[in-house]
Subunit: 454 residues, 2 copies
Amino acid sequence: MPDYNKKLDDEFKTILIDAIQRNDIDAFREEFLEVHPYDQARFYVSQEQDVRQQISSYLSPSEMAELFHNLDSEDQESTLEEMEPAYVADMLAQMYADDAVDVLNELEKDQVVSYLTIMDDEAAQEIKDLLHYEEKTAGSIMTTEFVAILANHTIKNAMKILKSEAPDAETIYYIYVVDDEERLVGVISLRDLIIADDDKLISEVMNDRVVSVSVSEDQEHVARMMKDYDFLAVPVLDFQRHLLGIITVDDILDVMEEEASEDYSKLAGVPNFESQDHSAFSAARKRLPWLIILLFLGMFTASLIGRFEEILSQVSILAVFIPLIAGMAGNTGTQALAVAVRGIAIGDGDRKSKMQMLRKEIGTGLIIGFVCGILVMIVVDLWKHNIVLGMLVGVAIFTTLTISTMSGALIPLLMHKLKIDPAVASGPFITTLNDIISVLIYFGLATLLMNYLV
Amino acid sequence: MPDYNKKLDDEFKTILIDAIQRNDIDAFREEFLEVHPYDQARFYVSQEQDVRQQISSYLSPSEMAELFHNLDSEDQESTLEEMEPAYVADMLAQMYADDAVDVLNELEKDQVVSYLTIMDDEAAQEIKDLLHYEEKTAGSIMTTEFVAILANHTIKNAMKILKSEAPDAETIYYIYVVDDEERLVGVISLRDLIIADDDKLISEVMNDRVVSVSVSEDQEHVARMMKDYDFLAVPVLDFQRHLLGIITVDDILDVMEEEASEDYSKLAGVPNFESQDHSAFSAARKRLPWLIILLFLGMFTASLIGRFEEILSQVSILAVFIPLIAGMAGNTGTQALAVAVRGIAIGDGDRKSKMQMLRKEIGTGLIIGFVCGILVMIVVDLWKHNIVLGMLVGVAIFTTLTISTMSGALIPLLMHKLKIDPAVASGPFITTLNDIISVLIYFGLATLLMNYLV
């Protein structure tokens, strides 16, 4: 974890380590609970197992819960192994339900069941309810700890309710207004609540045009929406508009990082970003499957070229331009792919704009192909004093770049339309596909021009 | 812009268009001001210029400011052209200073000066102060509209101050505590303020270990920090710890999107993501410079292969494996690049872990190279019944993948260390570099084994 405030940190560490060595619980707690749980977590992970266990014995399950939430998922796992199951169950019950669910989603099923069995019933039920929702939907990232009131309360009354619920709610900066059947009818921000007259009714000051998301909504969509609307939290509803939970902006920051990381890794052909402490062996094991698939696709390309060995042995100069043509096809294809994937993420579900996008990419491919083709033709002619060769390479570049730009854009668009996750449309896959196309075009043209080349 | 709530939307549109046609200002305002400014903006951009001008005439500069903030930068630009300069100046003055600065940063310098000249002095000064800060630093994204109080106030008093400042402040959910010289000494959240006893002093309940950022801090670092700490806002200080401004989480969502987009486009070799309404011509113009550089690098690779034409004409089968070797080098290099760039973003400034990262990548490269090398050797031998050729291609793959993995990781790490923006370390650049390396290795080895190949 990065260091944000190094100087403060060293002083803090010295005091804490001293307190731990003297086993002075009060001194430790006084210093430790002063800082942000994220800093507590950083200190915690920097210690050896025995010290970590000592620290957790100094803290109540609810104090430990806050620290625990700030650990990496790997550190969370090892910490759980060091703790008594009863303590873990208590601690999970003290976390916000959505955060507890995040932790449990990383564990084996029987482990989850055993923790939930010893947990107090109310907390266990809340967590079980959330565990139902499909991963990456609004339901899976929402929390059930929100403040909801009826519309006929006065402002003064609402403030009282708020004060009493504040310690448990994940955010108190929006208060949701529901009817008798828990259907969402309005929202009021704490800001508006504070400014309003004490005696007014909630129904008079609330906003009744609430922007909400459905529980099955994709998390990426929720993130985009919160970014567009500058919300700190958004309510999650079922199909009858019952208020099920809320999603807070801190979770959205995590979603955005996760989604960006995913898009990025797809483009690079890395299945998952290994955390830094992973070994070279496990990193290789993650990357190899992809590479081996690409290797066999590459062998396929090789076998295609093999069919043109006859021509190659007669006009060996042809081989010289293979990497240039394949490489340029890969580059333009990746550019188009990136633009299309990004466009899908932003244009989300707008069909007309997808056709526009495709038409634009075809145009772009034609222009790029034309410019690069002419350039290559001139350079090759100047270099090899062979206009036929120049034209061959030039036309190959023109055709290849046009097609690879088009396919780079078309494939993710098609996948999105067929509702297939465009995971296979990763950068290296498109690149290898374009290798194959470019080789076929190049040698196809060479075969046609054979008589003029020899 | 995506549609979040289609049904609500259509009804809303019908009422508004009707009101505009009847020129019924009251009916329009009653409906329009009910919805979120983001929805107002969506309606606004969907209309023709004359209707847009009618709408802005119905709204006060401060109402228009909220709508305007939710427009794309392109729509902002065209909207500004349609408005009277005096109205624009008023509107900018009504925006949060950081948002106004974002708008002005997109304009020509003389335009900025002309708006600032007719703006009221206080607002103009605030904006001018912010315009000083370098782009992408904390200073450039902070706002100066925060709530600050002295530590010797009571809670009750603080609430009063808060109520009076609430309408202007960008967030009231953190109250910053300063000394007589405006140095930051503590912070208290509105949540804690609400729970605390009325008669207590701020100094008793505030948190005096405030996590803050320096005004020159990189915006990416600020984003990571807010994500780690789950903050809704973070204070920005100068080197004497004077409180200059705050950065709110809604701006951080924008920063995260911007930075993710940037990393992504670098990997793909696209300088900037064109917005959808750009023409094919302007898209091509943006991508071509990169492609032309890569084209000449590709010609260089071609000229390298040209030096081996002698061997190629004797052993034409060698050409068959060029795309395989170059392609695999590109793929592994891109993987390593992506992991390194991501690692730098996360490990930020932790030197030891960079050495670890590099050592791990070398190990990963060796393992990947070994596995793929052996595989290729077997396949080539089975296919061509030529063990020397199999060994040649296998060893070339092994060496190439090891080196390209290493260079993929080393180059961005080196650039980061030299504080060069790793923009040139984009995917296609690394790929083309690895093309060159792989061709040299392959033909170098072929030259050595020449006698056994013919």
